[in-house]
Subunit: 191 residues, 2 copies
DNA sequence: CACACTATAGAACGATCGTTCTATAGTCAA
DNA sequence: TTGACTATAGAACGATCGTTCTATAGTGTG
């Protein structure tokens, strides 16, 4: 029925490329509309639906739902997708991975000491600074003035760090173990 | 000397909040300038320095350097430098991983057939539908009406799918291999 | 000190902005 | 069919846009 999803997709693509949204006439050219009033109406609908919003200076900014990404339906893999895909599930990656931006930092994995945990060299881990960690969690600790990502473990002598790779030894701090933060997620980009 | 870094920081903060950049007069209000010509000059300097650029409709868009974060972000008093120095960090993971939203879907990994590739059950992969794939790439193929994530490989008899786990066999389609898309990234959340 | 250089202020300009109005085309239900 | 509703086109409007000019203040050099 409505072509709004198609328009939204074009705005999302434009945004992914330029990191800003175009003006109304720019949007018209982008989605193939010839009148700004049509663009204005469409923008109104997308605002109503939670995809766009007004910035303080009345420019249009993307809203929460603008960054929702579609999750492929495993069941219907082979079948052509029905046109009314309003049912399809969505996920906002940033919201999914980060719940407290101010306490969150990213760190790149170096070496393959956590390879069995699925953390490969170059992967980025999402670290929640100062979050409480318990044995079995993956943490970022400070060893010899460097960040290191390892499993946090505990035995009768206290806490220690266990690599996710049998070829590496456990690390036990002499006095006390300094945990920088908790690893709450990771991500990776293929070239 | 120059207050440009301070101005840039305010623009970055504004962008982080609104995901767009304001107009020249908006920028002036943001950074405390009273004339648009000063803003224009500043924008010119930031463009020259690679932080900003012109979008097709002459709006200002952020450039690559705009998203680099100071290493100081992860330094705290008394703490060592992060191990990933000189690596630029990205504000939005979504924007880092997805460059063509309309062609992108997410898919959850099932089973451990790609465990050696660092893809564990429950991980989400970012799939670029219809993107060209070459041998060695990780792809999403449709086998028996279900999505499957495997390495795409090629030998003298043609293309086949190779799991990232020696315990699983290669998959060779009888007639032709249906590749749904290319895996361009992945992410994972720890409980 | 004089001089060169830079950053900002302020004003003027045409271009473009977003809003708002009316009009047209299409769809759906009765 | 008629009527209600929606989406788009087109035009007009004042507001705002970004550019460009001159002028002023500050800074560093010699």
């Amino acid at each position: 029925m409505s072509k709004d999803p198609e328009y939204l997709a074009k705005l999302q693509d434009y945004y992914a490329e330029h990191r800003i949204l175009p003006s109304f006439s720019g949007m018209g050219a982008l989605v193939g509309m010839k009148s700004k009033s049509a663009v204005s109406a469409m923008v109104g609908r997308l605002i109503e639906a939670g995809y766009l919003a007004y910035a303080p200076d009345r420019r249009i900014q993307p809203e929460r739902r603008f960054f929702e990404r579609e999750i492929a339906d495993t069941i219907q893999a082979g079948l052509p997708r029905p046109a009314n895909d309003s049912q399809s599930e969505v996920c906002s990656i940033d919201e999914y991975l980060i719940d407290s931006p101010s306490r969150t930092v990213l760190l790149a994995i170096k070496g393959d000491s956590m390879i069995d945990a699925g953390l490969m060299p170059g992967d980025k881990v999402i670290v929640k600074k100062g979050a409480p960690a318990k044995p079995g969690d993956i943490v970022v600790a400070i060893v010899d003035n460097e960040f290191t990502v390892k499993y946090l473990e505990q035995d009768k002598t206290g806490f220690y760090l266990r690599p996710g790779n049998k070829a590496f030894p456990n690390i036990r701090a002499q006095d006390h173990l300094e945990v920088f933060g908790l690893v709450v997620g990771s991500f990776r980009k293929y070239v």
